[in-house]
Amino acid sequence: MRRFVYEISESWKIAAAQMRSNMMRSTLTALGVIIGIVAVTLMGTAISGISIGFDKSMAIFGDDVLYVGQWPWKQVDDWWNYRDRKKIKTEYAEPINRMIVATPKSNLTVAVPTSSVYRSVKYGNGEVNNVLVRGTVSDYVITSTFDFKEGRFFNELESRGGANVCVVGYDVANALFPSASPLDKSVLINGQPFKVIGVISRQGTFLGLFSLDSIVVMPLPAFQKYFTAKSEADILVKVKDKTKLAEAKDELVGIMRRVRGLSPEKKEDFSINEQQALKSTLDPIKNSIAIAGLFITGLSLFVGAIGIMNITFVSVKERTKEIGTRKALGARRRTILLQFLIESTALCLLGGFIGLTLAFLMCFLIGVGFPSFPVHFSTDLVLVSMIVSVLTGLIAGFAPAWTASRLDPVAALRYE
């Protein structure tokens, strides 16, 4: 055992000496690993960045909210079966809430109707196009995950009365009121003035597709007064205990069937959606992007590994006589195998370390230069890269090291 330890420490010393004395060659070979590790690490940061962004986007929906809508949140092959479904109406919220209250031990808390259209929002000379204008009730704030930058959400009184008040998203506020506070100012939507009573904090984009901050929320009666045409309605239902999501979903299906007046043999003509289901449809896409990305960048690491293997073969060839001498002095096969494995591993570790440093710097620069670009550098990544480096070294070095360990001492000593 002690001999094994001495042999290993000796091997590290030899590896270090070997790298020092073949500086040029070692650097060039390590370069292959450096490039490989940089590529894989950057891909790793991008993947974890995308993943974090994805989870953030998903969190917008809340993990305890069910969405009743006409369409399911997934790819459907028989879209014609969904197209002709009856529209979901905001009025459903009322009977749903009644039934929730009437059911003892209901898994549901409250149903919130929403109805949305896209409109322009104006203030003075400023105008923002394609803003999601949404009418809802004061309980909407329970089902949502946003915070307020300033102001407040509308209260129940304003909600029922259909007051001309609104809450604006971060982007809308920024575009129309670059310097002043939008509170108590009136913005024009469809020519109607709405007093701003709150500003929602920045939420970012949904999967990088569209901004979640380009939104205006107002009381439902006011919305219905001015924006009935082409509006899309959804019912949001908050679940009491998110661990009982399935039961809650079943309960809601029952309620909706009664609301729609469906006889037991009829199929449902509505969809109950939730974050988890959407996630499970999008996860495979996310994962295949990750696998493809890692595979492609992994190829560059593979090329680096071939370089290591090659240089280790050269090293074995050059030092055949030294191997013979070591064997004559009592080195076993294992000793020689270890020596060259450690040599290739040391080279890979060096490359991995430099590559990781470069990747870290690049991540930092990308983070500074393009804040919206999803990169995320983590300690896990450092650990994984180092493990990958070591494994690369061991795998790449194995064939040459094995060859060296099997050399016949007589032939090796005679080698010139």
């Binding site: 009592g330 096969r333 016949d408």
Partner: protein, 252 residues
């Protein structure tokens, strides 16, 4: 009994270190089968100084590789300190080489980028000796060959004779049963060669067992016993008169 033998220098009757019986070695070289050794028997005792001579192709190198446990015979028996070497596997042979045999090569075979001290330490690493002890033993071995002041020099900072002396220090650092020197003066001028042979003589006087492989009669003359090989067989095995005279001196 043994100590008495040693003190009297009656070497041929001491305990045998090496005993080989009728060993043969065949190589296949391409289509041809080469019979490098055709049945060699030899017994080497403790504190002998033996030269193995022969022209190239005589099987001299093959015999040396056998004696050095670098190779195993095709048939025959080889006992090293009573252990049967002929049937040992790679690791066991490595162990024997490490503990029992000190090699001195014609081309020195030092590690070019390591200091004398580190070179001499090498066999001790493979023996699993701890670093402090290693350094102490290596330094002592270098002192014995007169290189106490060259411990931290690398091979390229040493003369040929000094390099070979480092190699000798490396060979004896583990206190092996035999020192196996293959043309130790082959790469040296005759003056330096003479110095190396003087070191060998000293080692012999201190009780080491030395096997010298050479084709030079001048060098072989330093040994007390000479074995001549020809065509894979022992042609002659003589104790030189020098030994007899020495025997006469030491017994008188």
């Amino acid at each position: 009994m043994e100590t008495l033998d040693e003190s009297l220098n009656i070497r041929p009757h001491g305990r045998s270190v090496i005993e080989i019986q009728d060993i043969t070695k065949r190589y296949v070289m391409g289509e041809e089968i080469v019979h490098a050794l055709r049945g060699v028997s030899l017994r080497i005792h403790r504190n002998e100084y033996i030269a193995i001579m022969g022209p190239s192709g005589s099987g001299k190198s093959t015999l040396m590789n056998m004696l050095g446990c670098l190779d195993t015979p095709t048939s025959g028996r080889y006992e090293f300190n009573g252990k049967n070497v002929a049937e040992m596997d790679d690791n066991e042979l490595a162990e024997i080489r490490n503990r029992e045999i000190g090699f001195v090569f014609q081309t020195f075979n030092l590690l070019p980028r390591s200091t004398s001290l580190r070179n001499v330490e090498l066999p001790l690493i493979y023996a699993g000796i701890n670093p402090e002890k290693r350094e102490e033993m290596a330094a002592h071995a270098l002192q014995e060959v007169g290189l106490a002041d060259r411990m931290n020099h690398k091979p390229n900072e040493l003369s040929g004779g000094q390099r070979q002396r480092v190699a000798i220090a490396r060979a004896l650092v583990n206190n092996p049963s035999i020192i196996l020197a293959d043309e130790p003066t082959g790469n040296l001028d005759s003056k330096t060669g003479g110095e190396i042979m003087a070191v060998m003589e000293t080692l012999y006087q201190r009780g080491h067992t030395i096997i010298l492989v050479t084709h030079e009669a001048d060098i072989a003359r330093h040994a007390r016993r000479t074995v001549h090989l020809r065509d894979g067989l022992i042609e002659s095995d003589d104790y030189l008169p020098l030994m007899e005279s020495e025997f006469a001196i030491s017994s008188s």
